[in-house]
Amino acid sequence: MLLKIRHETRYTYDRPVDYALEKLRLRPLSSAVQTVSSWALEVEGGKIECGYSDHYGNHVDLISTDIGGTDLVVRVEGQVETSDTSGVFGSVYGRAPLWHFQQVTPLTTVGAAVEPFVSIVQGADTVLNGLHALSSAVIKAVPYAFGKTDATTTAEQALAVAAGVCQDHANIFIAAARAAGVPARYVSGYLLMDDRVDQDASHAWAEAHVDGLGWVGFDVSNAVAPDERYVRLAIGRDAADAAPISGMRLGPSDEAMVVTVQVQQ
Amino acid sequence: MLGKTAGGLYWMFRFLERAENTARLIEAGFRIALTRSSDAEAEWRSVITTSAVRQAYENKHDGYDSARVTDFLLRDTDNPSSVLSVMKQARNNARMVRTALTTEVWLAVNETWMLFNEVLKEPVEETELPDVLATIRQQSGLVRGALHGTMLRNDLYDFCRLGTFIERADSTARIIDVKYYSLLPAPSFVGSSMDNVQWETLLRSVSAHRSFRWAVDSEFNATSIASFLILDRRMPRSLAFSAGQIVDNLGQLAEEYDMPMPSYDMARALRARLKDRDINAIFEEGLHEFITSILQDVARLGQQIENDYRFTR
């Protein structure tokens, strides 16, 4: 399936910014499940300083804002040819060892709230069944709701709020899978929706490593396995590692952010 | 050179100059307190005002006397302008820019800091005050001597000198401003003991009570003293002299960097306000207004130098 994607993030600062840096993980890579046929990244109000392949193999661009600027626009646009592998990404490994994806991170720390989800995996007859059961249980406990959580919300906190977005679902899934001994990771990307072209944000889901299959995807929010409607952007241990944009700003200004995402055939 | 290094040198010498100026103010105040005890309280108040620490002082003390004022100005670490406080800051700046200093300058500053900590460890007895003040002045001379004798005459030196003269211009302007009323030409008071005392204190505050007689072939009166402190380019603590030095150093920087900066133009404008002027015209303009606007110019110039040479950003 050929997917056309346009993703724009616009920051507006309430006073001129002297210095700000953003890490962009906004360049999808071709793999067994997708082929990037065209892709362009544009920055207004700033410039690309350097780019490299990070420790998960993601392509990262470091950008800086123009001195004294009040707007920054980051826009990507391109086409990706995808295929359906029933959620299986497979036995494809980078240099980051599997054990690295069993490590706890601040966003995926297991406490009393996540604990019961760990036993769902441990109690299942097979790992794969356990992970499916985990996925269903997470979306049941944390129904989709926009604006109740933010980028810093941990798995434990999202369970306490009992509402969240794809990032929260993936973080909880990852936290529980790891505690049950299954390597798990976070995937950021795009999803073609049936009912609309314009979306409020990019998407995210989880992958777990199952012996014999390799990496297997779980879109907890939509209760499905990622198929040809999905485009992968970046991977990491959690949302902080794989976020499409993360940055920092010196000085007292406040920012407003508007994101527009369009995914269509 | 790093912008931070330029800033460190500049501030190091501003603080050193400030320590020296404070010592001189105390010396002048102390003299009045000894000779005319009835004027002492008012005199100490004006010393505190000149040092721009009146609010901080009054938050801590009610009333003015030698012991409390001298302690506040010399030793009190709550007073950011006390000799101990500024010496610590001068030395911290010296540590920060140590790679830019000659060994002699570094040793002079570090030893001065150690010595001040030693002599100011306990409150200073009145009988010891003259010695302590002399030590502070001598040590300032030592650092200055090391700078003149050993530092390359390049941008490093210019930033040191800029700090010295921005601080000095500010300090002399404040001294004049606090006593400006005694400098106004008011014929009925000429020669009164009141004015004589004030004039002498003014001159002592800038170590010029002797050089005035030497340099100025005229009466000991308000006009000639004001002219001496503001316009006389032979007098190393006058406003005109300080402005001239600032222009020279910024000019050398402009030449060395092949890049004239806005601060250079500002400094030349400041110097022009003090050059070939008639003191009577300044009185016409209003001495207080004139000094206030000079103080503003000096502050703006200092800020512009920081921006032009990227001290902090």
């Binding site: 210095y19 840096l21 890490k23 300083e49 350097c50 780019g51 490299y52 392949s53 990070d54 420790h55 193999g57 990262v60 470091l62 800086s64 980078g94 240099r95 980051a96 060892p97 054990w99 690295h100 069993q102 490590q103 241990r237 940055g247 920092m248 | 050179m1 790093l2 912008g3 931070k4 290094t5 330029a6 911290n92 540590r95 920060m96 140590r98 790679t99 570094w106 040793l107 570090n110 030893e111 150690m114 941008d155 960097y257 890049m259 040479y309 990227r310 902090t312 950003r313």
Partner: protein, 474 residues
């Protein structure tokens, strides 16, 4: 068992001074104690006015302290040094190979030599270094190897400092002080010079510049600032190398490089000798609250546009748990047996070892796996019954946090006291410089000495002093 009553004294042999000290011993015998005492106080005054001080954390009354300097040199023969230097060279190469392996293919884990948990649970392991080779392949541009001695031919490595070892300024200043105090001595005894260290350091750092750098590489030293305990050393090294001493807020990402703010604009840095810990190095990548670091430097680093010395993440090679595997690590990467011995080390994470340690606590030294500076350790023979019992509880609670070693009978070298010479325990930290073209070990080092009679703790933060270290010429 090494710990027996009479320690090996490096100066006094059974029949007079040992060979390396022969000439010095003759000279010393002719000295007048009063003159020497006067020299000592002169040296202290010099250190104080020069500001050769260190800041002690958590002590407000003594913000800056002197490290006491003892005027009796620690002397090593050329033969003793050659063996030490060979051993250090071998070890440093192995450490660099180990780091590259750990951050890439992890063959040593696959081979079952180092357990995976030791890396996985190591806070010093930085994932951001995975799948990356630093410019020139160098991880540890500067290593300070702590060495102790227990007998004529018995040298042991106590610790490999692979992060940002400090103390080299004392090696240099101590020599300068000795030259100033006793110039006549150096005409009698042929001592190998150490004064080239700053030049060699700069050359070594320049040699590790990124390939993309054209012309002479620009080197700078990054310090946390004047309140850091080793600030004097940072400014000393920058000064001696003739490079800028920068702080985080002097630096920015400019044109894909890290550049420093000068009075004339931004200037690109090619090699940054950083004396800021990993955690604080880059607030964009690591601790976002760090005010000391340089946002974006890890991105610029991975893009290949700057060299960082030492590389981030080298701490994974120098903690005390990895230390216990060093003989195997050396053999795995160099194919040779380790020239320098390790101190026998019991890993409390292993139940059998833990039991042994608990049973023999009074005879052992117990250290935290990630500790340094002599803090958080137990010296069994010097501890009270209560202290032993308290520490045993800590061990049982977190065994993986500790290792234990026998109390070595460290060698002694005399110090000068009012009543003449008195033996005190010493250790040695030589400094090795690593560049893409090789390892360069400066003949000398920092000798630390426990000033209290019988004490084994040489750390400057706990009352230790220093000595000039002489390596004799042939």
């Amino acid at each position: 068992m090494i710990g027996k009553p009479s320690p090996f004294d490096e100066m006094q042999g059974p029949d007079g001074p040992r060979y390396p000290y022969a000439t010095y011993g003759d000279w010393f015998a002719k000295q007048n104690n009063e003159r020497l005492a006067k020299k000592t106080s002169e040296a202290e005054a010099f250190f104080r006015s020069t500001g050769i001080t260190f800041n002690v954390y958590g002590q407000t009354d003594a913000e800056e302290r002197l490290i006491p300097f003892d005027l009796v040199p620690r002397i090593l023969s050329s033969r003793e040094w050659t063996k030490l230097a060979k051993g250090i060279d071998q070890r440093v190469r192995a450490i660099n190979a180990f780091l590259h392996d750990i951050y890439n293919r992890q063959e040593i884990i696959r081979a079952g030599i180092v357990p995976m948990e030791l890396i996985a649970k190591n806070d010093a392991f930085l994932p951001q270094m995975i799948d990356f080779s630093p410019p020139g392949g160098v991880y540890t541009h500067i290593v300070g190897t702590d060495i102790v001695r227990t007998g004529e031919d018995d040298f042991f490595v106590l610790e490999d400092n692979a992060r940002t070892p400090s103390g080299v300024s004392y090696m240099l200043e101590n020599r300068e002080t000795m030259l100033k105090m006793f110039p006549e001595l150096f005409s009698k005894v042929k001592v190998q010079p150490v004064s080239d260290y700053p030049k060699e350091l700069r050359r070594s750092l320049e040699g590790s510049a990124p390939k993309s750098c054209g012309g002479r590489p620009c080197v700078a030293v990054l310090t946390p600032g004047i309140h850091n305990s080793a600030y004097y050393e940072h400014s000393f090294l920058a000064d001696q190398m003739g490079v800028e001493l920068v702080e985080g807020h002097d630096l920015r990402v400019v044109g894909g490089h890290i550049a420093m703010r000068t009075t004339k604009g931004y200037k690109v840095i090619d090699v940054l000798y950083r004396r800021v810990d990993d955690e604080f190095l880059d607030p964009l990548t690591f601790n976002p609250n760090s005010l000391l670091g340089v946002p974006g430097i890890m991105d610029v680093y991975r893009a290949g546009n700057i060299a960082i010395a030492n590389a981030p993440g080298t701490g994974v090679a120098d903690d005390k748990a990895i230390y216990s595997y060093m003989p195997q690590i050396v053999e795995f990467y160099t194919g040779d047996r380790a020239i320098l011995k390790n101190v026998e080390t019991h890993r409390c994470s292993e139940p059998q070892s833990l039991q042994y340690v608990l049973d023999n606590l009074a005879d052992l030294v117990v250290k935290e796996v990630h500790g340094s500076g002599g803090y958080g350790m137990l010296v069994g023979p010097a501890a009270s019954k209560q202290e032993l019992a308290d520490f045993a509880d800590k061990l049982r609670a977190r065994p993986g946090n500790y290792i234990a070693q026998p109390t070595l009978s460290l060698s002694t070298v005399p110090i000068f006291t009012e009543s003449g010479l008195a033996p005190r325990h010493v250790d040695l930290r030589p400094f090795a410089l690593v560049s893409p073209t090789g390892v360069n070990i400066i003949p000398g080092g920092l000798t630390r000495v426990a000033l209290t009679e019988g004490s084994l703790v040489v750390n400057s933060s706990q009352g230790g002093g220093t000595k000039d270290t002489w390596v004799l010429g042939d």
